[in-house]
């Protein structure tokens, strides 16, 4: 949405009608892009409504008190999350998943609370690198890391 609809195109001799239709399409694209950005930041948003927190807590239950299993999908995490050691935890990560961890984030997830662990799972599962980056950003924010450190970590 850099300029008023149609002013430059009309100088190129297009009819008002085609400029109008084109500008509607441009607007739709702008809005779609905007909503993608919102969706990406929401996906990694550590803030949740009370209902979402309660839901998550009931789903995750005690499983998240131990190291998290990220090898299966989220549904499987629930039933397989009772790993007892760090080795088991890291052992179940594929190379690709390990490569998705920014270097500044501990592989063992020490010091994480439930929300941070959930964010870690989301980030590792996310295929889109931009969205993944957004989720890591939210993760680091949630862990109390300063903005400059976050930028350095994710650069």
């Amino acid at each position: 949405m850099s300029s008023q609809a149609g002013s430059s195109n009309q100088q190129l001799g297009q009819s008002a009608s085609s400029v109008f239709n084109e500008s509607l399409g441009d607007f739709d694209k702008e809005m779609a892009g905007e909503r993608d950005i919102i969706a990406a930041s929401s996906q990694g948003d550590s803030s949740m409504t009370a209902q979402e927190i309660a839901d998550m807590e009931s789903i995750m239950g005690a499983d998240l008190d131990g190291p998290i299993d990220i090898s299966g999908d989220l549904g499987n995490d629930e039933s397989q999350g009772n790993n007892d050691s760090e080795d088991e935890f890291t052992g179940e990560m594929s190379e690709e998943e390990i490569s998705r961890l920014p270097s500044c984030i501990d592989i063992d997830g020490s010091g994480e609370d439930k929300i941070a662990r959930q964010l870690r799972v989301f980030a590792i599962k996310e295929d889109d690198p931009n969205i993944r980056n957004e989720i890591w950003k939210q993760y680091l924010k949630h862990m109390g890391i300063g903005q400059s450190e976050i930028d350095k970590c994710l650069s």
Partner: protein
């Protein structure tokens, strides 16, 4: 004897103040939901404006009104009302609006009168797009402790009774309209939107009653009018913009939801303690004063009357003193409310800045596009009809 009668009179005056127990009724209003799917012709699109936070100009003398919390509430409350209306299934689309628009069939505005987690009160106004007022009412509720319980249905806000009451009132009014009248409201909406884009073409399609300011249709465009189709395309983009803006409002709603509830919960308890202690302090001071007065009035030279006089004076002074102690205890809760409010106020400010920045950016950019479309629609109209349009003063 006369003095004793006077004393009894004062005591009788003070007695009603002694009634320490107060029964508080917490209203629970159940939300009416559609039991069957509502047909298209009975659905109206609803817009809810960001509420008026009603921040007093003299904020210094209202230390328990926190400007940033009020601003956050002015966005949180309409968003929750949107959720509630959507939940009923009685309405078409429901959006929160940053600004005036002609794209909605029904517009809701609100002003926060009081909100401290214990007492909530808001003024609500609802108009349809023809200009007819549906609701002008102040909604009030007293919020019970159970409304903050973690075991409740957490989709229900602690102020849910008010939201449900507004939704039920709206439904009750809508049910009084036959489908034809509801369709007429939507048609007026389409024409007002069209008239906003190309006034010189569409102003004649509507007449506004001089007395009531209510719009009526004087004529309708043809069903296949090509310019109306393009106007419908622009309206769709306005709704798309509102969808996007509502995503940002949803983010704020989510971010603020938990700390806002925590603030309301703790503020509620402090407000109750504060009010109770203040009331208790007043009672003690007054009773003390009555006892001292009684002591002064006790007449007689006997030892008994001397003791009675002394007893009343001492008892009265003790009561007054304990009244002062209660008053200073009340101040502690007031300070606690101030402290908790200040802390959440700062947190809310940061969240608001982000959302407001995004809203301004988006609406600013979109405004340029809409201006461009206005010009293009006029050109298209001229190209297709051969009619030269007058300059619209609105532009």
């Amino acid at each position: 004897m006369k003095n004793i009668t006077t004393f009894i009179f004062f005591v009788c005056l003070a007695l009603p103040l002694l009634s320490l127990s107060e029964t508080i009724k917490y209203d629970k209003v159940k939300l009416k939901r559609a039991e069957i799917e509502i047909t298209e012709d009975r659905l109206l699109d609803v817009g809810i404006f960001i509420f008026d936070p009603n921040i007093p100009e003299d904020i210094e003398s209202n230390p328990l009104v926190f400007p940033e919390i009020r601003k956050a509430e002015a966005r949180y409350i309409p968003y929750h009302l949107k959720n509630t209306l959507e939940e009923t299934g009685f309405w078409g689309g429901v959006w929160m609006l940053p600004d005036n628009t002609k794209a909605m069939d029904l517009n809701i505005s609100g002003r926060i009168i009081k909100s401290d987690g214990y007492d909530v009160s808001m003024q609500i106004g609802v108009w349809d797009i023809s200009g007819k007022q549906w609701i002008d009412k102040t909604y009030k509720a007293r919020v019970g402790q159970s409304s903050y319980s973690k075991r409740r249905d957490l989709t229900q806000d602690p102020y849910q009774s008010i939201f449900n009451q507004i939704a039920n009132d709206l439904q009750k009014i809508k049910i009084g309209y036959i489908s034809k009248d509801l369709k007429r409201i939507s048609e007026i909406g389409d024409l007002r939107f069209a008239s906003d884009l190309i006034p010189s073409v569409f102003n004649d399609y509507l007449v506004q009653d001089k007395k009531t300011s209510i719009y009526k249709i004087s004529r309708l465009p043809a069903d296949d009018d090509p310019i109306m189709q393009r106007i419908a395309d622009v309206k769709e983009r306005e709704l798309l913009l509102l969808d996007t803006l509502n995503e940002y409002y949803a983010q704020l709603y989510r971010e603020i939801s938990v700390p806002y509830e925590e603030w309301r919960k703790s503020n509620r308890q402090n407000a109750i303690n504060y009010e109770e202690l203040k009331r208790s302090a007043r009672k003690r001071q007054l009773l003390g004063a009555v006892a001292i007065l009684g002591g002064i009035m006790v007449d007689g030279d006997s030892n008994a009357s001397g003791y009675a006089q002394q007893g009343l004076m001492i008892g009265g002074m003790q009561a007054v003193q304990s009244g002062f102690a209660k008053a200073s205890e009340a101040k502690i809760y007031k300070e606690s409310m101030k402290e908790g409010g200040d802390s959440f106020d700062t947190q809310a400010e940061g969240l608001l800045i982000e959302v407001e920045g995004q809203t301004l950016r988006l609406t600013g950019n979109a405004q340029e596009m809409f201006l461009g479309w206005k010009k293009l629609l006029k050109q298209i109209y001229t190209e297709e009809t051969g009619l030269i349009l007058e300059e619209d003063s609105a532009q």
